[in-house]
């Protein structure tokens, strides 16, 4: 058991070191800082509605950055190993493909959540500077659901990198996930307006595609509506876990059969 933890620990450390030392990620974090700080601190004419608008925009940016980082990390977890041929010495070690997949995934999630925690810390600082409530149950719920989404996005990107080229997978997910985020809840409305074979297809897509909007608590946070019912909260976490496990299971099946 100790050996399993050491293997997984080594893979997690590698992902964190990669995130820390890769210049593009560092540049993204700096860019996020540059964009988020003015947005969070802006007080346009002291109008509270406008302040909320800027708050919401800042949170939307956090969502965008976190999606980009999660997909970038998840998509690269194995493609970088294949490209640099380091997958060969790695798989020649006494490590199973399942352990490798789990370790790389957890490493990716820890790296992605580190970036997310940084963004939320920034949000809390700006809230505190404005004299607002900088720590609340609603914020904790928002962070946990956002983290669940990030973990799910890493799993989806990892799985897609086995099904197609990494860039194709990332592009599809970078379109699909934001589309679901903005329009997912409107799909039944759209299905009602179409006829013929398209209608069941839209409904099937509605039930099968991951509903990213479930994880979004920006409105509650910005308007001070408070957290959601704990049962609903746990149900959404379970929903995210279901999709995450399904994506990892599919990735494992493909990786196990992959010709090297």
């Amino acid at each position: 058991m100790n050996c399993h933890f050491r293997r997984i620990g080594a893979l997690v450390r590698l992902s964190l070191l990669e995130l820390w030392r890769r210049n593009d990620m560092f540049a993204l974090l700096v860019l996020a800082l540059v964009l988020l700080v003015p947005l969070s601190l802006a007080r346009p004419f002291g109008v509270s509605g406008a302040v909320r608008y800027f708050d919401e925009a800042a949170l939307l940016l956090i969502w965008g950055y976190s999606l980009f980082i999660s997909l970038g990390i998840g998509g690269r977890l194995f493609t970088s190993e294949f490209d640099s041929r380091t997958i060969y010495p790695l798989l020649a070690k006494p490590v199973s493909r399942g352990e490798l997949l789990l370790g790389k995934y957890l490493g990716g999630v820890v790296a992605s959540l580190s970036a997310l925690a940084f963004f939320y810390a920034l949000w809390m600082v700006s809230a505190a500077l404005r004299g607002g409530e900088w720590l609340s149950a609603c914020l904790l719920q928002a962070f946990v659901l956002h983290a669940m989404f990030a973990a799910f996005a890493v799993a989806m990107a990892l799985c897609a990198s086995f099904l197609m080229t990494s860039s194709a997978g990332m592009t599809i997910l970078a379109v699909l996930l934001p589309a679901m985020f903005f329009f997912g809840r409107r799909l039944p409305e759209y299905a009602g307006n179409v006829s013929g074979a398209l209608r069941p297809l839209v409904y099937a897509f509605y039930w099968l595609a991951p509903h990213v909007e479930f994880f979004d608590m920006r409105q509650r946070l910005v308007h001070g509506w408070g957290g959601v019912d704990p049962v609903v909260f746990l149900a959404v976490v379970g929903y995210g876990l279901f999709y995450t496990v399904a994506a990892l299971w599919l990735a494992h099946v493909i990786f196990k059969r992959k010709k090297l």
Binding site: A10, L11, S84, P89, A92, K93, V95, K259
Partner: protein
């Protein structure tokens, strides 16, 4: 008969219609050094991949220390260096070895001790703090051999270890392999460098179109004439077998 480190028995491997390895029977004894020769596409890398459990044979059996190489615990006794890997460029060699040590399930203290020994052995101690992206090809090969030796393996499998090395790096690498042979390690390496093979190996195996057309002592094919391996290699390839 000495203990068999690995045994390939009637192994074949196809990729679609292409038969990369065809009915190969080959084994390596404890402490033996065997050079694995053949032209490009002869089936050397496919054989090595089957040996370390990366791919399964279409037919036949592969035994590594008596076990199945696709089982992770069987691979605990081997060290493998692929043909030119570009190790994580953002790590230094100490971090690289700490990572692979963790993957092997080794504890921190053992990894540290082994790292110190290996960095001296492969002459990378002075460059230990430099990121791997600043390393030359020869230095990367030495980092590669260090990761392969980290768990003190009984069998070392090297895929084209001399590729891209300058003459001085080649001499250093050859001396390193000789020292390992002196310590009783079994070594199996594929190569196009016939001179190096001749200087290092007890045995050679020559592949052509997926078949092993010769396996035995290098001296046996050299015969009384004392001809070099290069001429004999060409002769064996042309005839498709031994004289």
């Amino acid at each position: 008969m000495s203990e068999r480190v690995f045994e390939l028995d009637g192994v074949s491997r196809s990729f679609g219609q292409v038969k990369a390895v065809d009915n190969l029977t080959l084994s390596l004894g404890k402490g033996e050094v065997t050079g694995f020769l053949g032209t490009n596409g002869a089936g050397k890398t496919t054989t090595i991949k089957m040996l370390i459990g990366l791919i399964r044979p279409t037919s036949g059996t592969v035994r590594l220390f008596g076990g199945d190489p696709s089982e992770s615990c069987t691979r605990a006794r081997i060290g493998y260096m692929p043909e030119m890997a570009y190790y994580y460029p953002y790590l230094n060699v100490r971090e690289l070895l700490a990572f692979y040590g963790g993957i092997c399930g080794m504890d921190k203290q053992t990894v540290k001790t082994r790292t110190d020994e290996l960095l001296e052995e492969v002459e990378l101690a002075e460059a230990a703090k430099r990121p791997l992206k600043t390393y030359s090809k020869g230095m990367l090969q030495r980092a590669g051999i260090a990761q392969a030796l980290l768990n003190d393996p009984d069998l070392l499998i090297l895929d084209e270890p001399f590729t891209g090395l300058d003459p001085l790096a080649r001499i250093h690498f050859r001396e390193l392999l000789k020292r390992l042979r002196g310590r009783g390690k079994s070594i199996f390496f594929s190569s196009h460098e016939l001179g190096e093979t001749e200087l290092l190996c007890d045995n050679v195996a020559i592949m052509k179109n997926g078949h092993c057309i010769y396996h035995g002592a290098a001296s046996a094919i050299a015969g009384d004439g004392g001809a070099n391996l290069e001429r004999l290699f060409l002769e064996v390839l042309e005839k498709g077998g031994v004289r």
